[in-house]
């Protein structure tokens, strides 16, 4: 195996470890710990469904959170006033097809495919898409500076994004 290939595989393993940990925090509703994965000033977005190539100022994003908004979102989910998630739904996410490229020694661009299964009072909704990250190396782990979700569906059939995708 070439040295490059070995490095790629090593980086991917690091990223996979990080993404699996993130998925676990979300599935278990440990959102305060999840929020700690974000660097201050980070952004978290869900792109428009039909044309995900446009920017935030010329199209309507499903979610366009800056760090303050994201913090408020987590707080609202944890303090019980997000009634669409009180009691919490059951969430289970599958993460796969992980890709990672080191942009610089400190910055990694990563992406994965996901499937999220949300179950609430007998109603099941599924969300499938890709999640793209800009990550900063911090010690032996990472901090998120950008988290961008692209869903692969034309409309949110029977779904909403009151929880964290």
């Amino acid at each position: 195996m070439s040295q490059d290939a070995a490095l790629t595989i090593h980086l991917r393993a690091e990223i996979e470890e990080f993404l699996y940990m993130e998925a676990e925090l979300l599935d278990e509703w440990r959102l305060d710990e999840w929020l700690e994965l974000f660097e201050e000033g980070a952004i978290s977005q869900v792109l428009p469904l039909r044309d995900p190539t446009l920017g935030t100022d010329d199209s309507l994003y499903l979610i366009d959170d800056d760090y303050v908004r994201l913090k408020s979102r987590v707080q609202q989910l944890l303090n019980g006033t997000t009634y669409s998630e009180n009691p919490f739904s059951k969430l289970r996410r599958l993460v796969s097809n992980v890709r990672a490229v080191a942009e610089s020694p400190m910055v990694v661009r990563a992406r994965c495919n996901f499937m999220v299964h949300r179950s609430r009072r007998g109603k099941i909704t599924q969300y499938v898409g890709q999640c793209r990250y800009r990550l900063l190396r911090k010690g032996d782990s990472f901090r998120i500076t950008e988290r961008v979700v692209q869903l692969d569906q034309d409309n949110l059939s029977q779904g909403h994004l009151g929880f964290i995708l």
């Binding site: 428009p48 469904l49 100022d57 309507l60 609202q76 009634y83």
Partner: protein, 419 residues
Amino acid sequence: MDMTTAHAFANQWIIDDSEDGVFSVRAKAYCDPDIYVAEQKDIFDRCWLYAAHESEIAKPGDFLTRRVGARELLMVRGKDGELRAFLNICRHKGGTVCRERSGNASTFRCLYHSWTYTTQGKLAGVALKESYASGFDKDRFSLYPVRLESYRGLIFICYDETADGLKQFLSGAVEVLDMILDQYEGIDMTILPGAYEYTMSANWKMLMENSMDAYHAISVHTRFFNDYMPNVMGVKMSRNDLFGRTSEHVGVRDLGNGHSVGEIRRFAKNMDATKRSMWEEKYGKERTDRLINYNRNLLLFPNTIIAEQFPMIRTCFPLSADVTESTSWTLVPEQEDPAIRAGRLQGFTSFQGPGGFGTPDDIEVLEQCQRNCRELPADAYLDSSRGMKQEVCLPDDELQNRVMLREWRRQLDLPMGQG
């Protein structure tokens, strides 16, 4: 609905007694499959329905395919500059004439056997036409036209040949649309890409009521008022600041034909002074004050909400008695200060969107109401009497529900109970 069917239903769908302040609606109105069928025929196939904004089909040849009411339409600006709507169905064997969502075309070719139509809906040519008899008359095969009229850029369609024109249908809503759109006069408006499209397991009338209902705001939207507003927007508002009768214009008005408007005080004022003097010159001081200091939420019967604040246009349509499909667009000035645009979109996304801090909780309660409606006894009623004996109804009263439901009953020709 014909009388025999009507009598098969219990006899009082709505109890409307202004003497005693009683307004009750049978819970079944929200979950009965027969009512759903009657609504399709007597309401959605008869009323003018919001379909699109002119900016979406601005140039000759621009087209849009979209479900409006129960059918998919092809809306196109013809080579002659006229806006037209057609059923998106080929006259040969029912193929789909245009399979794209939007674009610009000089002709539309049906995939199945390549019959080709002009932008004015005429059959322009058929493939391998030698085998058709000489009497084959292309003029007999134009696309099925659907009535289309627009008012100040808002395009409406109507499936009923015999219905009154759009302006007559809009009735008192014309003045409210003017107030909303006057603020953008001379400015090119555009619908931003990225409409919110979602479905929910609740009856469409529940969603319409919910869209105008300020009564639930304090309980369902706790997080928006107690968390998001103070912590992110830096504003703290009480119920009274928002919906209280703080001045003569605050309140809900019946606009005729099932339409209504709720006016509340604006809490964010970002009006530049040049506009104020321009408007004062044009509309006078009183109307200008009203334009600047109030927001209007307009309910257009049967299925459209126009919220001035963003502005938002939202339609909903029943897929069954229990499932509603909803689409929200935002209409914005094409050219505007990026900071104003950003604030506008943040406001929209943070409340209206399916990922916002309001809508998911609305969906949660509406879906529970829907499930519960189906479990209630057949003769159970729901209440919409709030504010009934008041001289003025506030946005957290229920006049708008009564206005909508009276029209609903009238259109379905259901028997009405008196107390």
